[in-house]
C-alpha cells in the first residue's frame, strides 16, 4: 500500500516537473563549469589584462611627460603632463573594480585612488622628503588624487604652480616619486596577472573564495562603494548632514568629474554585459526562473536610467552640488535602485556562497 502511494507520488511529480517548465532560460547547452570558465576567461582576457596593459602603457607616457616637466618646467609641459594624467585617469576607471588577486593583496586600489587626497600630508611629505609610500598612512597622499593636487592644486594659477616647482626642488621630487610609484604599482599587477590568470580562470567552484564569486562580489562592491558612494554619495552628503562638494573625484581639476563618472559607468555596463562575451548578464539569463526571468533587462533599464541622469548633470560635480543638489541626489537614487537589483535579486539567483558561519536557510 505504502509502495503504491509512493509510486503514484513519484509519477505525479514527474508529471508536474516535466510539464511546468516555465523557466525557458534553463536550457544549458554548456555545463555550469563551462559557462563559468567562459565568463572568467572573458573577464581575464577582454577586461582585466588588457585594462591593466593599457593603463600601464599610458602611465609610461605619463612618466615621460613627468620627466620632461621636471627637466623643463614650462606651461607647455605642464599642459602635456596634465593631459597624460587625465588620459591615465580615464583608463583607471576601467580597472578599479578588479580588486582581486594581485590587486587585492598589494592594496593596489588604495595606493592608486583614495580621495579626497590629504593635501596636508602631501605638503608635509614634500617638505620632509621622508615618507614610505607603502605604508597605509600614506595611501591618501599618493595616487591619482595626489597628482591631481600636485598638478592643479598647489597654487591657484598656472604660473604660480610653475614658479613653485622651479623654486622648490622638493615638489619635483615628490611629483616624480608619486608618478613612478603609479607606474611600478601597475607594472607589478600587470606582471602578476601573467601567472595569476590560469588560477583565476580555473577557479569555478561555488565557494566563497573562488574567483567567480569573488569577482562578482567585487563588482557589486565597486558599484555600491567605488561608484555610487565615492563619486556621488559622499560628496552629495548622503551619509552626512551636509554635502561635501570638496570630496568629489578630481577635486582640484574639477571639470572632469562627470567625464570620469561616465567612463566608470561604461566600464560597469560593459562588464555586466560582457561586451560581446559571456558575463553576468548571460549567467542571470541562464539561471533566472519564474519572476526573475527579466532581471537582466531590468538591470540594464536601470543602467540606462542612470546614464540619462548623469547626462543631465554639470561637467563639474562640485558646482552641480552647490547649484542643484537635488538633481545630483536624484542621480544617486537612480544608481541606488541598481544596487538593490544587484544586491538582492541578482545575488539571490547567483547563490554566491559565503562562509560566515553555518546556515539554516533561515
Amino acid at each position: 500500500m505504502l509502495k503504491k502511494i509512493l509510486l503514484l507520488n513519484f509519477i505525479f511529480l514527474l508529471f508536474i516537473g516535466c510539464s511546468s517548465d516555465e523557466s525557458s532560460g534553463n536550457s544549458q547547452s554548456n555545463s555550469v563549469w563551462e559557462q563559468k570558465t567562459e565568463m572568467l576567461t572573458n573577464w581575464a582576457d577582454n577586461f582585466i589584462i588588457p585594462g591593466y596593459q593599457e593603463l600601464y602603457s599610458k602611465l609610461l607616457e605619463l612618466q615621460v611627460a613627468k620627466n620632461d616637466f621636471i627637466s623643463e618646467t614650462s606651461q607647455q609641459n605642464l599642459d602635456i603632463i596634465r593631459s597624460k594624467w587625465l588620459e591615465a585617469y580615464i583608463l583607471w576607471q576601467k580597472v578599479e573594480m578588479f580588486n582581486i588577486g594581485p590587486a587585492e593583496q598589494s592594496f593596489y586600489n588604495n595606493k592608486m585612488n583614495i580621495y579626497p587626497t590629504n593635501s596636508t600630508k602631501i605638503e608635509l611629505n614634500v617638505q620632509s622628503g621622508n615618507y614610505d609610500l607603502e605604508d597605509a598612512s600614506n595611501f591618501s597622499s599618493q595616487g591619482f588624487p595626489c597628482l591631481d593636487y600636485l598638478l592643479h592644486g598647489i597654487q591657484s594659477t598656472d604660473s604660480s604652480i610653475i614658479s613653485l616647482y622651479n623654486e622648490n626642488e622638493n615638489y619635483k621630487n615628490y611629483l616624480s616619486n608619486i608618478t613612478n610609484q603609479l607606474v611600478s604599482n601597475t607594472l607589478y599587477i600587470k606582471e602578476q596577472w601573467v601567472t595569476y590568470r590560469s588560477s583565476f580562470v580555473n577557479s569555478t567552484e561555488n565557494t566563497a573564495t573562488s574567483s567567480a564569486n569573488k569577482m562578482t562580489n567585487d563588482f557589486i562592491y565597486y558599484y555600491e562603494k567605488g561608484f555610487r558612494s565615492n563619486k556621488f554619495g559622499i560628496p552629495g552628503g548622503v551619509f552626512s548632514n551636509n554635502p561635501f562638494p570638496e570630496k568629489v573625484e578630481a577635486y582640484y581639476n574639477q571639470n572632469i568629474s562627470k567625464l570620469l563618472a561616465n567612463e566608470a559607468f561604461d566600464a560597469i555596463k560593459n562588464f555586466f554585459s560582457g561586451n560581446g562575451g559571456y558575463s553576468l548578464e548571460d549567467f542571470i539569463d541562464n539561471y533566472a526562473t519564474g519572476d526573475q526571468t527579466n532581471l537582466s533587462s531590468e538591470i540594464k533599464s536601470q543602467f540606462y536610467a542612470v546614464d540619462d541622469m548623469i547626462a543631465e548633470l554639470d561637467q563639474n560635480f562640485h558646482n552641480q552640488i552647490q547649484e542643484d543638489l537635488i538633481k545630483f541626489l536624484s542621480t544617486y537614487d537612480a544608481i541606488q535602485q541598481g544596487t538593490i537589483l544587484l544586491k538582492t535579486d541578482m545575488l539571490s539567483i547567483l547563490q554566491i556562497a559565503t562562509d560566515y558561519i553555518d546556515a539554516d536557510g533561515d
Partner: protein
C-alpha cells in the same frame, strides 16, 4: 484511561538506550563546540561585534567579550563529562546553561539546530542517562538496569515533533508547487561531482526533492516507530541527512539528527552498541575492580514534579510552532512566529536595508553605513528580519542621540527578495521606527507581501 496512563508511567525499559544516547550526544556536542572554535567563529560572532541582537526577555544577556572563550571551555568540559557520565546531572545542567547562554547572546546566530540542542539538553537534565555505562556508576558503585520507559519515549517524542513540524512547514505552495527554494539552491551546487552538472540541474529533480523532503519529514516518525520499517527508516535517515550535509552548509545538524535517531531502536541494539564501546574504553581503564551494587530499576525521587515539567515542556513544544497563526500576513515575509518552529532550510530570502537618520527640526538627514556598526553576518541577517531591523534602528537612535543629535527619526529603506521573486519593498520607509517598540503585536510597519503563499 487514568489506569492506562499510570500503567504506562510504570513501564520500564533497559537503560542502555539512554546510555548510548548520552555518549553520542556528548561526543557530538564536544565535537561541535570545538569545530565552532577552530573555525574562528567565536571571535567573529561574539568578540568582534560591537552590538548584539537580543532575544525578547533576555536583553540582560551580554557577550562576555574575550571571556566567551572561557564560556566555551566550560561548555566543552561539560560535554566531555556528560559523555563519560561523570557527575552527569550537574554537568548536563551546566552544559544546558552555558550553551543556551551562548546562543542567547545574539539573534544573528539563531539556528533551529542550536535551539534543538538547548531544549534537548534541558530535558536530558531530568533524564537518568547516567543510569548505566557511566563514570557515576563507578564512583557511586551503583548502576541501574532499567529506567522508566517514558524517559526514553520523551526523547523520541521530541524528535517526532521536530520532524512533524518540519514536514508540515513544507506543505506550502512555494515549496510544493514551485519547488522553491530548492529550484534556486540545487542548481547552484553544480560543483558537486557527478550529480552537480546533471541531476541537480533538472527541473523534475527539484520537484522530487521538494516533495520527497516533505514526505520524508512526515513519514519518518512512523517508519522509525514500527519495528518492521525501522531499519529501512534509519537508512533513509542517514541518506537524507548526509545528502543535505553535502548540499548545504548546515554544520553539525545532519549528524546530530542521525545520531539522535538511534534512540528509536530497541534495547538489544543499544546493548550491542555499548558492548562495542566497552571494547574501546575498557582497555584504556586499568584493571579496575568494578564492584557495583546493581539496582534493577531507576526510580525518581520527585517523579510527579519531573513529569509536570515534561508535560509543560511538551505542551509548549506543541504550541510554539503554530503561534504564527495568531498573526496576519504571510509568515515567510513578516517572520512573526518563524523562529522555534522547525522551519529548516525552507526559504530563500535576501534583503538590502539602509537606514536614514533625519533631524525633524532641521529636516536634514543622512544614511547610515551599516558596516560601521554591524558585522557582515549581522547585516545579512538583519536585512530581512523585521525584529532585528527594529532593534538596530533603536540602537542607531541611541547611538546618534548620545553623539548629540537631537529630535531624530529613523527610517528604513528595505528591499527583500523571497523565494525567487523580484525584490519588493519590505519596510514602510515613511514610518519612524523610533516611534514604535518591540512587542508581540503585529508589526504594522512591514509592507504587505505582494503575492500569496498558501499552506502552513
Amino acid at each position: 484511561m487514568i489506569l492506562k496512563i499510570n500503567q504506562y508511567l510504570h513501564r520500564t525499559s533497559d537503560a542502555a538506550s539512554l546510555a548510548v544516547f548520552r555518549v553520542f550526544f556528548g561526543l557530538m556536542m564536544l565535537f561541535g563546540m570545538v569545530r565552532f572554535w577552530s573555525k574562528g567563529w567565536i571571535y567573529s560572532t561574539y568578540v568582534e561585534p560591537k552590538f548584539h541582537f537580543k532575544y525578547f526577555g533576555f536583553e540582560w544577556i551580554k557577550s562576555p567579550g574575550e571571556y566567551t572563550y572561557i564560556l566555551f571551555i566550560i561548555c566543552i568540559v561539560c560535554a566531555l563529562c556528560v559523555t563519560l557520565g561523570f557527575k552527569y546531572k550537574f554537568n548536563m545542567a551546566l552544559f544546558f546553561l552555558s550553551f543556551t547562554y551562548i546562543e542567547l547572546i545574539d539573534k544573528t546566530t539563531y539556528l533551529n539546530h542550536y535551539y534543538f540542542i538547548s531544549i534537548l539538553s534541558f530535558i536530558l537534565i531530568f533524564i537518568p542517562a547516567n543510569a548505566k555505562f557511566s563514570l557515576d556508576n563507578y564512583i557511586e558503585k551503583k548502576q541501574y538496569d532499567e529506567v522508566p520507559t517514558w524517559t526514553i519515549d520523551s526523547l523520541k517524542l521530541l524528535l517526532i515533533i521536530v520532524y512533524f513540524c518540519a514536514g508540515l512547514a513544507k506543505i506550502n505552495s512555494d515549496w510544493l508547487l514551485k519547488a522553491m527554494p530548492l529550484k534556486i539552491w540545487l542548481p547552484s551546487k553544480y560543483d558537486l561531482p557527478i550529480i552537480g552538472e546533471t541531476i541537480l540541474q533538472y527541473n523534475w529533480v527539484h520537484y522530487v526533492m521538494s516533495w520527497g523532503g516533505m514526505l520524508y519529514d512526515l513519514l519518518i516518525p512512523f517508519l522509525l516507530l514500527y519495528k518492521k520499517t525501522r531499519l529501512f527508516g534509519f537508512l533513509l535517515v542517514i541518506f537524507f541527512h548526509l545528502f543535505t550535509a553535502v548540499l548545504f552548509p548546515i554544520g553539525m545538524f545532519p549528524y546530530v539528527m542521525i545520531v539522535s535517531t538511534i534512540i528509536f531502536f530497541e534495547a538489544q541494539t543499544h546493548k550491542k552498541i555499548i558492548k562495542l564501546l566497552k571494547r574501546v574504553v575498557y582497555p584504556l581503564a586499568k584493571n579496575s575492580t568494578y564492584n557495583n551494587t546493581t539496582v534493577s530499576n531507576f526510580k525518581y525521587k520527585n517523579k510527579y514534579l519531573i513529569l509536570g515539567i515534561f508535560m509543560v515542556f511538551f505542551i509548549i513544544q506543541l504550541i510554539l510552532p503554530f503561534r504564527y497563526m495568531l498573526y496576519p500576513s504571510e509568515l515567510f515575509w513578516t517572520e512573526e512566529g518563524y523562529r522555534f518552529s522547525w522551519r529548516v532550510m525552507l526559504v530563500e530570502k535576501i534583503g538590502y536595508t539602509n537606514f536614514k537618520v533625519k533631524n525633524l527640526k532641521s529636516g536634514k538627514s543622512f544614511y547610515v553605513r551599516n558596516g560601521h556598526f554591524l558585522t557582515d553576518l549581522q547585516i545579512k541577517q538583519m536585512s530581512f528580519q523585521p525584529d532585528m531591523i527594529l532593534e538596530y534602528a533603536h540602537y542607531l537612535g541611541d547611538h546618534f542621540e548620545s553623539q548629540g543629535h537631537k529630535d531624530i527619526a529613523i527610517f528604513a529603506e528595505s528591499y527583500v527578495a523571497l523565494n525567487g521573486r523580484s525584490s519588493q519593498e519590505f519596510i514602510n520607509s515613511k514610518i519612524d521606527l523610533l516611534s514604535t517598540e518591540e512587542s508581540f503585536k503585529h508589526k504594522y510597519w512591514i509592507k504587505p507581501f505582494k503575492d500569496e503563499i498558501k499552506g502552513f
